[in-house]
Amino acid sequence: MSPLSYLLQRGTAMLMVPLIITHLTLIIWAVQDGLSAEEILSRTRGSIIWAGFYGLFVFAAAIHAGIGVQTILREWTPLGRLATANVGHVFILTLWLLGARAIYAVVWA
């Protein structure tokens, strides 16, 4: 793992500590009486606060996961440095795009 990857990995981990506590709490609270599409969307629709929360979460989780996948591939497969870096970057970009689409869908659509 390069020094930059290491810093990004640990930095995003620290950033996500309060986000994960909030996410886990909300998951357990929200599923108590069963989950419905209306319930999810009534919470998120038009909410700048949830958009910001999930935007930050997606941004950090994508970087964290991309570096993690890259590290695992580097250690557990014969793939070289360039190939694993490419996979990691594509993974991060994919998660950013899918995440942005998900946030747009539950907040604005």
């Binding site: 620290m14 994960i20 709490t25 357990i28 419905s36 998660l95």
Partner: protein
């Protein structure tokens, strides 16, 4: 001690098991995330999203969801342990206990919230 003996000894160390669990839970989350985001993106078409949420209301899906929530909690606790070792100069044993205590405290807090609302 032979090289393989050293390898075996290090693998018996709790830190090795903890790092394997951290890696396995992290990998599971990385596979789950694109599916999770894709599914939420279905809200762009309200009927598809409603159908998806209804589809998710079956035992196997709920068990899978439970496993993913557990993977997140496990990866979270393991990550706190790692940060404690690397940034706060704690020994691995201290960090493990702190992570367990934090995970327990978080569990109690969440259980309280469940009862409170």
């Amino acid at each position: 001690m032979s090289v393989s003996g050293i390898t075996r000894a290090s693998r018996a160390h709790p830190g090795f098991v903890a790092s394997l669990i951290h890696r396995a839970s992290g990998l599971a989350l990385a596979v789950f995330l694109p599916l999770h985001f894709y599914a939420l993106g279905l809200a762009l078409e309200s009927e598809t999203f409603t159908g998806f949420i209804a589809w998710s209301d079956q035992p196997l899906v709920k068990i899978s969801e439970g496993l993913m929530v557990s993977a997140l909690a496990v990866h979270f606790a393991g990550g706190l342990r790692l940060l404690a070792v690397e940034f706060f100069g704690l020994t691995r044993a201290q960090a493990l206990w702190i992570a367990l205590a934090l995970a327990f405290a978080l569990g109690v807090g969440i259980l309280f919230l469940m009862r409170a609302f």
